[in-house]
């Protein structure tokens, strides 16, 4: 009998590069092609805008190579998608590409590594504020004549998602330097960038923070030595559910504003900041609508492109009118499919995914759905910064911003007390009518690792099938994608006793894949 061809049969061995792009039916394939053209239009426009500068950047920075693989990355994030899911994903991703390329242009135009002794670059740097990548840059809306750049986002965080091998060299450098090898790969990657002098040399000042954890605080000391900019820590309280810490949180923001005014020579613009907060509130409302749609039996917008876009939106483009326009457009597309009662995917399970996902397997959600029919209806990493900001007064806006920081990525659940990590999980399980939990076990994260037992006890007590998927955030050399898939395979075969939707995806070699 002829073996049925599956998605993995279209992948080259080891590199997992598609032999040809996915056939999604006539209409969806044509749509995917048009969005691919749009992406290439964005990339060519960026390359052509400053060709010499951009080529020099690609040759100067190892992490820039990862950006050359973006079309392949977007393909992976859209694997198996049809209908509104495909359209939502492609629009979100192309918006990201558009914004990232604009920011890279600003970064490289100001980069003193690429333009030593350039007066033009020096002038540009006077208006660039660097912030730690986990500090959402909504505050930057109050400095409309300046550009607030998430410092590690472009050399570190995004490349770690796009290409699983991008952190490896830098992590090795930090370990060779003598730093502990059991630290989370995120700060190790940052430390390696500082050691290799592979951060762009930009900015007039830097806001660092205590986010998300001790590992990042450690690496900030190394980064400061390399970067050499005037810097100030913006401390974000850990016990963010307590009223007692809110005055402190607001004072930290006031102090940060004073620091930025001093170093940029610009006065904080409350009207511009208010406008940014109001746009962010509307962006949040769009997200709430997406979550409402995902609570239905026909969730239209789930998985990797959804949570990745949320993180980027929350951190980098909160308060951005173009981001809001993209959200409104995507929501129209999703609403149409839900209203028509369509669901062009095979869903056997509705899963809540909890704890931090794995950067070096950004499209894990796609594999879950395509291989086992497990739909990621709710993800912890997607849920942050959900409180609307009261723009009635300066004080209320500062309180809103303080809340925005305290409930940001990798803070909303991992700090604040056990109820936000533990109880919230069971609440979301009910809310989304889930039937299983996928628990990421980030082996280098001591914080969440301490309560693994509580998750297991809670799931057993409630009779909830829960599979633990081990991962090391952005180090593919300690736990590979194959090993992550195997954790799910063993569970689905031996506990759930199911056959896969696509047997070809159960076991395949993608160790050399980006």
């Amino acid at each position: 009998m002829k073996k049925k061809k599956g998605a993995a049969d279209n992948l080259k061995n080891k590199t997992a590069i598609q032999k040809h792009r996915e056939w999604r039916g006539g209409l969806d394939t044509a749509y995917d092609y048009m969005q691919w053209c749009r992406l290439w239009g964005i990339l060519i426009k960026w390359a052509a805008s400053h060709p010499v500068q951009n080529v020099r950047a690609v040759f100067r920075y190892r992490w820039m190579f990862s950006y050359l693989t973006v079309p392949s990355f977007f393909d992976r994030l859209c694997e198996g998608q049809r209908g509104a899911g495909l359209r939502g994903a492609r629009n979100n991703l192309n918006y990201l590409a558009s914004d990232v390329t604009k920011t890279l242009t600003t970064i490289f135009s100001a980069d003193m590594h690429l333009h030593p002794d350039s007066k033009k670059a020096e002038e540009l740097n006077k208006r660039i504020i660097c912030v730690d990548e986990l500090l959402p840059n909504l505050l930057g809306k109050g400095f409309p004549d300046c550009k607030m750049i998430l410092f590690q986002e472009y050399p570190m965080y995004l490349p770690s998602l796009i290409n699983q091998h991008s952190p490896v060299h830098y992590i090795e450098q930090s370990e060779l330097y003598g730093l502990p090898a059991d630290v989370c790969p995120l700060p190790s990657f940052e430390a390696g960038l500082a050691i290799e002098d592979d951060f762009p040399k930009i900015g007039c000042c830097m806001l660092t923070s205590n986010m998300p954890c001790d590992g990042s605080i450690m690496t900030t000391m190394l980064q400061e030595r390399r970067i050499g900019l005037p810097s100030q820590v913006l401390n974000v309280p850990l016990r963010w559910k307590e009223d007692e810490v809110q005055d402190y949180a607001v004072e930290e923001i006031r102090s940060a504003i004073a620091f930025l005014e001093e170093h940029t020579g610009q006065k904080f613009d409350w009207d511009a900041f208010k406008e940014g907060c109001e746009i962010w509130n509307r962006q949040n409302e769009c997200k709430f609508e997406k979550w409402d749609m995902n609570r239905t039996d026909i969730p239209p917008h789930t998985g990797s492109s959804a949570w990745l876009y949320r993180i980027f939106e929350h951190q980098a483009v909160a308060g951005e009118p173009r981001a809001l326009r993209n959200d409104l457009k995507v929501n129209r597309i999703l609403r149409k499919q839900v209203a028509a009662g369509k669901c062009p995917k095979t869903i056997r399970h509705r899963a809540v995914l909890w704890n931090t996902p794995c950067n070096n397997y950004a499209n894990f959600n796609n594999w879950l759905l395509n291989c086992w029919g497990i739909e990621s209806v709710c993800e912890m990493i997607d849920i942050h910064g959900t409180d609307l900001i009261d723009t009635g007064s300066h004080e209320s806006m500062l309180r809103g911003l303080a809340d925005h920081y305290q409930t940001s990525t990798m803070r909303a659940h991992t700090k604040g007390g056990s109820e936000v990590m533990l109880d919230s999980l069971w609440e979301k399980y009910e809310e989304y009518n889930a039937d299983m939990i996928i628990m990421f076990d980030q082996i280098s994260c001591k914080g969440v690792g301490a309560i693994n037992g509580l998750f297991e006890e809670g799931a057993m007590k409630r009779g909830i099938p829960m599979v633990r998927v081990r991962q090391d955030l952005m180090d593919p050399t300690s736990i590979t994608r194959r090993e992550m898939r195997n954790d799910v395979n063993i569970f689905m075969q031996s506990v759930m006793k199911e056959e896969p939707v696509d047997a070809s995806l159960v076991e395949f070699d993608d160790d050399e894949s980006w």
Partner: protein, 51 residues
């Protein structure tokens, strides 16, 4: 009329070039080809690791 003919020709030429690149994933395959030499270049760059 002539303008429409030119436009159609341009569009057909665009499709003739881009559709095979898209379908056969030639853009990704090209980037894969240059990966090794690029990594060699990065490895050979002098670095000052003193902090």
């Amino acid at each position: 009329m002539k303008a429409i003919k030119i436009l159609i020709t341009i569009m057909l030429a665009f499709l003739a070039v881009t559709v095979p690149i898209y379908w056969f994933n030639l853009d990704t395959k090209l980037v894969k080809l240059i990966e090794k030499p690029m990594m060699k270049r990065y490895d050979s760059m002098p670095r000052d690791n003193r902090l």
